[in-house]
Symmetry: C4
Subunit: 216 residues, 4 copies
């Protein structure tokens, strides 16, 4: 594997994230009303589509948070080898899959089959989480983690990924009893993944911000 492979793998991954996140909107379909439909009818139809909007919102946010974590993880890695490359391929495959369970969730969230739809949706995140676990395990096992990264950060990230696996599994089971509870448990991890500490010592501070900078 070559030095340029890391940046190219990131570039392909970013392209895939960008396309997958933009395709989410395609599951929201234009309401097909009869020819003489009035304003009131269109408004009601759009409001009736709320499960599509909710599913769009949840999937976009989740995929965006996945991207933030993907970058965090790659920041800690100094290079890629074939096993890491294929583990990353597994992760991005699941990311491109997200529009499908999102569409299923949007279509069935209001009906009798809401539990199955929500469980399928949550189950997808069990798989994605397994992908991130595999990716991080591969990085550690193949000694791809940058040597300046303290061991306890490596362990904390592994712990967070492991814990996430059980939370998503719980969500999938819970979805069989209440679709909304299952989906809510998935979303409850947003703050965790948003604040997970990957960065260098200066993380949390703005890069390039010196004390004494002109306040605004």
């Amino acid at each position: 594997m070559r030095a340029t492979d890391k940046s190219r793998t990131e570039a392909l991954s970013d392209g895939i994230f960008a396309v997958a996140i933009t395709l989410l909107v395609l599951q929201i379909t234009v309401p097909q009303l009869p020819a003489g439909a009035a304003n009131r009818d269109l408004v009601r139809s759009l409001l009736d589509q709320w499960p599509s909007f909710v599913a769009f919102l949840i999937s976009f946010t989740t995929t965006f948070v996945l991207w933030v974590n993907h970058h965090g993880l790659f920041y800690l890695v100094r290079g890629v080898d074939r096993p890491f490359l294929f583990a990353n391929g597994f992760v991005v495959m699941l990311v491109t899959f997200v529009p499908f369970p999102t569409a299923v969730l949007a279509h069935y969230l209001e009906g009798e089959a809401a539990n199955a739809a929500a469980a399928f949706y949550c189950g997808t995140y069990v798989m994605i989480n397994a992908g991130y676990n595999l990716l991080w395990h591969t990085a550690a096992h193949r000694r791809l983690v940058r040597p300046d990264i303290p061991q306890d950060r490596v362990k904390k990230i592994r712990l967070a990924y492991h814990a996430g696996f059980f939370v998503y599994l719980t969500a999938t089971v819970a979805a069989w009893f209440s679709a909304w509870v299952g989906v809510a448990i998935c979303c409850s991890l947003w703050p965790v993944w948003s604040l997970l500490h990957y960065g260098a010592a200066g993380d949390g501070k703005t890069q390039g911000r010196e004390p004494g900078d002109r306040p605004e």
Copy 2:
């Protein structure tokens, strides 16, 4: 947050803009004519699709202008932190959403429900404008604006964004009385966003153009 995060956030945003702007054409569907349809029928069908073409034209132009402003805004920023990153995520989420109100507008612009369709379309830009306001507010509040940028430019941009919010709100209300007036008010801001001054002292002049350059 790391030094590379700004360029990566830009790269993901650019990718999302590129995909979203290219998906707009998918709402224009091939006319389905009976088997023996003549040239005349196809021409008439294509002409009857004018609301789709208009909606495509307006949404493409608007999204392109949004991209120009997104770059202008990022030019003034020296780095990103998490709140800015998530404010940007909110903006690009709304950008990926644009194909849906565009399709609704194209489908209903000619019928009885034109007002609701246009109001929904304009309302989307109220949200997008709110996203840009949030992004710029976050940049200023978190001291992410480059120190060499004069304060009055920061204020002028904020003022333009605030004013835009009320114009889009007006458009949304006006659309309930006349769909076309609502949409026209949205488009009336194109010159404003196209000419909004973000750049360095040399803005408006071509970078790298010296006096004495060979005229053509």
Copy 3:
């Protein structure tokens, strides 16, 4: 406009070209055969779709050649200003539009309405050619062309673009008499656009190839 604007405008344009060229395949739809359909039926259905394959092939090649010329043109330019930026926006808007006339051509190439479909298809290239003319005119008029580019090359490119306009116009008219002749005239310009000379003195030779390099 800033020094980075040229590369960013190129990056957005490349992203749009990549998405638009990949969406072309979506107009080829899976044949919907009755449940017990045999191998023979599927083969016949796929063969019956030949207009879709031809349209895909032609549009892909044309868009690819447009991309080659877009890069050639940008290579001759040392920076972008707002008029050039918006002229480029016009060009890429038409590039994103290509999947629609392609789908219309594929759908109607075999039927009675083939002339109208082909004329619409050729007419799209009249517009795209007009966009390239506008872009090159803007570059020359705004003095964005690199000073080391000889004047006669600027003129030759302008001449080729002007000539192209009349060829595409001829194709559009011809399509009304024979759909295939119209489309063939469009394709007849592929060699011209593929060989149009934009590059530096070393163009036509491989960059970095020295005499004395080990033959293979």
Copy 4:
């Protein structure tokens, strides 16, 4: 051709790979059940869609492996000229085509027409392999291969590509007797393409990994 052309050709190719690989999911459609469908019905419908999931999995993996090989091949090349550029255009055209045979395979894998669908799918890879053969032949013939690459590596890659052609041809023929055998033969080359040796002397080792690095 200019020095920047190699990186731009790679960038466009990467963009096309990213979009094409992400569009694969669009062939998996949401099951349309009657209004009162229960959880059980949705689960059964999703399970009944297994050919779509299998086709998604196979096409994603294959396209990902194609991308890995595309990068390997470009790594060995020091520049691009027009014939190479157009040979690469032929390869990426076929890559954008992959979602269509994938959708056909998913739709017909279970029915009577499975053989035709599988043969069409395998036949696509015959074409793609021919594209890679053409690309590598062009690189060697036009002396675009980096001079530091030993001749026997060039020959080994050529041999692997030639052998692949006959394997895919065999798969296409075999698919007429058993759809699954045909598809399985295609997949049997994954390890070959995944392990094909393109890289520099350090290939197989992680770039930047020194002896004495802290084990984890």
